[in-house]
């Protein structure tokens, strides 16, 4: 039985070494072909007419003029009369034409009549409780209200003030009576005004979840000697993938589709598309070589992808390419939910945390949004928390690197930093004191604190809140910590050793820029003892053994484990074949440096190709799988980050001087690309901390900054000095391979916000930390007389 354990440090030839990414030359020379670059024979270009309104019902559509235009080959109504659209930019009609300009002209010739409906696209204000301008109570809302431990009086009052949107039939009341809903409430329902007209839709903008409690928060706050309160948050931001979403669909015959899509999910797309079209996934061939960014926004199939397939069918199977325009990309293809919270923390004078209370809210469009895991990392003993999902028309929520974590991190670490300031203690000491609450990763964090402290010079440079040096430019330090799962996903690959010594690996995964190709080849080469160039790797196609979507930082653990198991099994088969020729047992052999040899007597050796020639005429193919035997991947990482910023209190401009990222992810396959993930995460973090916001206009319901000149990303000169340290060696390596793409994006917002507070002496409560927000915070602190 082979043993599936990663090689010890001294026996690794590629794993753990700094290897340049194998597709680097293709990318840096412009030869890497992305979906956007592909031109298929006879290809048509698709464009989409999008709703100008944030919330509307389609009344009528007239496509006749567009259909008659020369060069227009197909028109497909995506959402026809009677359909309700829930965000500005949602797809209504798609057109395919011989070129983009004709398709654009055709879109302009389509007439759509809409009935506008009420919309909400802003969410920064805390939802008011109690009766307000909201519509009548729906069933779900009423039950949620009862679940939140609102007093019966409050519930009755809401019913009386707002009315209800459903008929309180005797059956319903009977059911609720059985569920122990109070008689006063049931009586109020019987007397309530029933409003079911379309002006008062059967839903509220706010979905309140039940209160969650742990321990006894009330008692905790009574025992607290210091209580710190604050409100913190960050708005919806957009993924802004440089390669916009889209793809090319073509019917190769009346049964089969070939799809080139820009996706993080090559293996899963066929099933999604098949379901949408009512056809077997087996008849859909998906291929993608390179993807120009995803960050979580390219995991699912989109309406325009389905539309491309439908247009192709109408156009006799011709390939139809739809790539979003930049403004559509920012309006509809990227929306990280916002999160805000009013927080209260109680602690002893020595910094011991005793109680947490938070009322959080946030939006991710019509589906609400995720609920941030509060309090983040530190499990404070006594807690009470409640989250309200703001159901609005800002656009559809999409996963973003570490969903919900950056938001939870900002809220928690800002609140803890404010508490530390109130206690007048160094935040690093506060975290160290309470690190037992970070179980089971307390040891990791403590080691990382030390490394980060050394790299930033925190202990020698930290000053209490408010830089007292003269002049308008104030400098400060901030810190934050984070966690993530990152266990390897289900993965399969086929590894073949040919009798001539060549090796091929096929895996239905994708490289989203993290270096997946390189990691697979490193693991295989390390295990087979041959150079990486000796292995041909085929990925990006759903005809290969299925891997998972690249989400949740699950790819590296999945692909390295399946590759390792395949390589071990194939190598062992080779050993079994060649052992007699070396007059040895298979277990005595090793594959090292392009040879197969007896471990204890390296003079008894065959070159790799000579060994493979013993296989006879048939290649050896083995299937590697994850999960499987052996503990090759794991879950649960810790990371610590520190920021050093300068803030000009006259202009409000924040400048990053330095960021330090100390990160654990178990066994690091390729430190070079791993560090790049961390560097990129820091840069993305600077970007969302200082610049990014999906600015929505409540009057019109549209996004005001849907272009890259107004949706500002951090540039090369904005990011300061960046220092990354990967935790490796004993205590880390033996945990196995754990995902890395997401965790380091979690902390930058909190670390930078805390550094700004440390510099200027006051908290800027909301990201991004734009000059106006910084100046407003300073003015508020000065009593509005600044």
């Amino acid at each position: 039985m082979p043993e599936y354990t990663w090689p010890e440090a001294g026996k690794r030839t590629f794993i753990g070494k700094r290897i340049s990414r194998v597709d680097g030359p293709l990318k840096s020379s412009g030869r890497a072909k992305y979906t956007y670059d592909i031109v298929r024979p006879g290809m048509l270009y698709g464009k989409v007419l999008r709703s100008p309104y944030a919330h509307a019902r389609v009344v009528s559509i007239d496509t006749s003029a567009a259909e008659k235009m020369p060069g227009v080959k197909a028109v497909h109504v995506v959402q026809g009369a009677g359909k309700e659209v829930f965000w500005a930019g949602d797809d209504v009609v798609a057109v395919a034409a011989v070129d983009e300009r004709t398709a654009e002209d055709a879109v302009r010739a389509i007439k759509v009549e809409y009935e506008r409906l009420p919309h909400l696209v802003v969410d920064a204000q805390e939802p008011k409780s109690g009766a307000d301008s909201r519509g009548p109570l729906s069933k779900t809302e009423l039950l949620a209200l009862i679940d939140t431990d609102a007093s019966d009086n409050q519930v009755v009052q809401q019913i009386q003030n707002r009315g209800i949107s459903f008929h309180p039939t005797p059956e319903l009341l009977g059911q609720w009576r059985e569920q122990h809903i109070k008689e006063e409430v049931l009586q109020a329902l019987q007397k309530a005004e029933v409003k079911t007209s379309s002006e008062t839709p059967d839903s509220s903008w706010y979905k309140v979840t039940g209160k969650q409690t742990q321990g006894d928060a009330e008692k905790g706050f009574q025992e607290a000697e210091v209580v710190s309160e604050g409100t913190y948050g960050q708005p919806v931001i957009t993924h802004c993938c440089l390669e916009t979403h889209g793809g090319i669909a073509e019917w190769t015959d009346d049964q089969n589709i070939l799809a080139h899509f820009s996706t993080q999910n090559v293996p899963g797309l066929a099933e999604q598309l098949g379901r949408a079209l009512g056809m077997p996934a087996a008849n859909i061939h998906v291929h993608q070589d390179h993807v120009g960014g995803g960050f979580g926004s390219k995991l699912g199939l989109d309406r325009w992808g389905v539309a491309a397939a439908q247009l192709s069918k109408k156009a006799g199977g011709k390939p139809v390419k739809i790539m979003l325009e930049r403004d559509s990309e920012l309006k509809v293809a990227g929306c990280r939910p916002s999160a805000y919270a009013r927080v209260k923390i109680g602690a002893k004078k020595d910094g011991t945390l005793v109680a947490w209370e938070s009322y959080s809210w946030g939006s991710g469009g019509v589906g609400g949004g995720g609920s941030p895991p509060l309090p983040y990392v530190l499990n404070i003993p006594n807690q009470v928390k409640q989250h309200t999902a703001v159901v609005n028309n800002i656009g559809p929520a999409r996963a973003w690197r570490a969903p919900n974590h950056p938001q939870a991190c900002l809220i928690t670490m800002s609140a803890l930093d404010d508490l530390a300031a109130k206690l007048n203690i160094n935040p690093l000491d506060l975290y160290r004191k309470n690190i037992a609450l970070a179980k089971p990763r307390e040891k990791i964090y403590l080691e990382e604190f030390q490394v980060a402290d050394d790299l930033m010079g925190w202990s020698s440079r930290w000053h209490p809140r408010g830089d007292k040096t003269p002049g308008p430019v104030k400098r400060g330090l901030g810190l934050s910590l984070h966690t993530w799962g990152g266990r390897g996903h289900n993965s399969q690959c086929d590894l073949t050793i040919f009798p001539d010594g060549s090796v091929e690996i096929k895996m239905g995964t994708q490289d989203i820029g993290t270096g997946t190709r390189t990691a697979i080849l490193m693991v295989a080469a390390d295990t087979l003892g041959i150079p990486m160039e000796g292995i041909k790797l085929l990925i990006g196609d759903n005809s290969y053994p299925p891997d998972g979507a690249s989400g949740g930082s699950s790819t590296i653990g999945g692909v390295s484990s399946s590759t390792f198991r395949a390589a071990v099994d194939a190598r062992d088969q080779l050993f079994a074949t060649v052992a007699p020729a070396l007059n040895a047992q298979p277990a005595d052999l090793e594959a090292v440096g392009g040879s197969v040899r007896v471990a204890k007597d390296p003079s008894r050796s065959l070159s790799w190709s000579a060994a493979c020639s013993k296989l006879g005429p048939h290649a050896v193919t083995v299937r590697g799988k994850n999960p499987g035997e052996g503990e090759l991947t794991n879950s649960g990482v810790g990371g610590v980050q520190m920021a050093d910023v300068s803030v000009d209190v006259e202009t409000g401009v924040v400048k990053i001087n330095k960021m330090v990222c100390v990160q654990d992810c178990g066994l690091v396959v390729n430190p070079k690309t791993a560090e790049s993930q961390c560097l990129g995460a820091l840069i993305m973090g600077v970007s969302y901390a200082l610049y990014e916001e999906k600015v929505m206009d409540q009057a019109t319901g549209i996004m005001l900054n849907p272009h890259m000149d107004s949706y500002r990303l951090a540039g090369l000169g904005d990011v300061g000095e960046l220092v990354v340290h990967m935790m490796t060696g004993p205590g880390y390596d033996e945990r196995g391979v754990i995902g890395l793409g997401e965790p380091p994006t979690v902390s930058p917002g909190a670390a930078i916000s805390n550094a700004v507070a440390n510099a200027i002496g006051v908290r800027v409560p909301m990201l991004p930390l734009t000059p106006d927000r910084v100046l407003e915070a300073l003015e508020n602190a000065a009593g509005g007389h600044a």
Binding site: S20, R21, D23, G24, P25, L26, K27, S28, S29, G30, R31, A32, K33, Y34, Y36, D37, V39, D99, E100, R101, H239, C240, C241, L242, E243, T244, H290, V291, G292, G293, G294, F295, E325, R326, I512, G513, T514, G515, K672, T673, E675, S676, L679, G680, A681, L682, I683, M684, S687, H707, M708, D709, L713, A714, G715, L716, G717, V719, L722
Partner: protein, 202 residues
């Protein structure tokens, strides 16, 4: 990038532009190929709106197509000549992913009309290669892992090459300004700074 600010990338002077726009009120005949109109006493060629023959010299090779005058250099390269190194990202001169060299100067090819780019050598990221050999800038991008998804990389490579040609030993401030016209979403700036510092030391 300062180069771009200094150069009038359109190749049309302000005086010429005023002369052309001066005829806007007059009706321009809808004919293919340039018509010659007399404006302010001088003869001016007028193109479009229909397709007109256009020839571009890209990476040392001539490419010809019938294109409407409104077609950008970027779209002509990508859609008509299948030179897809330059990427269409913002499509309005904000991100630099479409950067190419036009007559030796960096331009955003999304903001130059193909018709204007005629008669001048155009070099894209593909054209920096020396046969099968990567250009030193391209090799340094690989070595310093200055790329992740790689979609901004072609524009950054061209911009970095042009920048280093002009500033062989740049200061950090010059790097920040000189390469501030390109954006990356994955966050590869640290690698790009290492590229510049590696090649800038030579």
């Amino acid at each position: 990038m300062s180069d771009r600010e200094q150069e009038g990338s359109s190749g049309v002077s302000r005086r010429e532009f005023l002369k052309i726009s001066g005829i806007a009120a007059a009706s321009v005949p809808l004919i293919a190929g340039p018509a010659v109109l007399k404006v302010a006493g001088e003869e001016v060629a007028v193109h479009g709106p229909d397709k007109t023959p256009i020839t571009l010299n890209v990476n040392g090779k001539n490419y010809s197509a019938e294109l409407e005058p409104r077609v950008t250099l970027l779209d002509a390269l990508r859609q008509d000549f299948e030179i897809t190194g330059p990427k269409r990202v913002c499509d309005r001169g904000a991100c630099g992913a479409c950067t190419v060299l036009l007559d030796g100067k960096t331009v955003y090819s999304c903001s130059v009309l193909a018709i204007e780019a005629q008669g001048k050598p155009i070099v894209t990221v593909e054209g920096l290669m020396q046969g099968e050999q990567l250009h030193p800038v391209q090799a340094a991008f690989v070595e310093n892992d200055a790329q992740q998804c790689g979609f901004c990389t072609p524009g950054f490579v061209v911009a970095t090459k042009a920048f280093l040609d002009k500033h062989p030993h740049p200061t950090p401030e010059q790097v920040h300004r000189g390469l501030g016209g390109n954006f990356c979403r994955c966050g590869t700036y640290d690698g790009i700074r290492k590229v510049v510092s590696q090649l800038g030391k030579a």
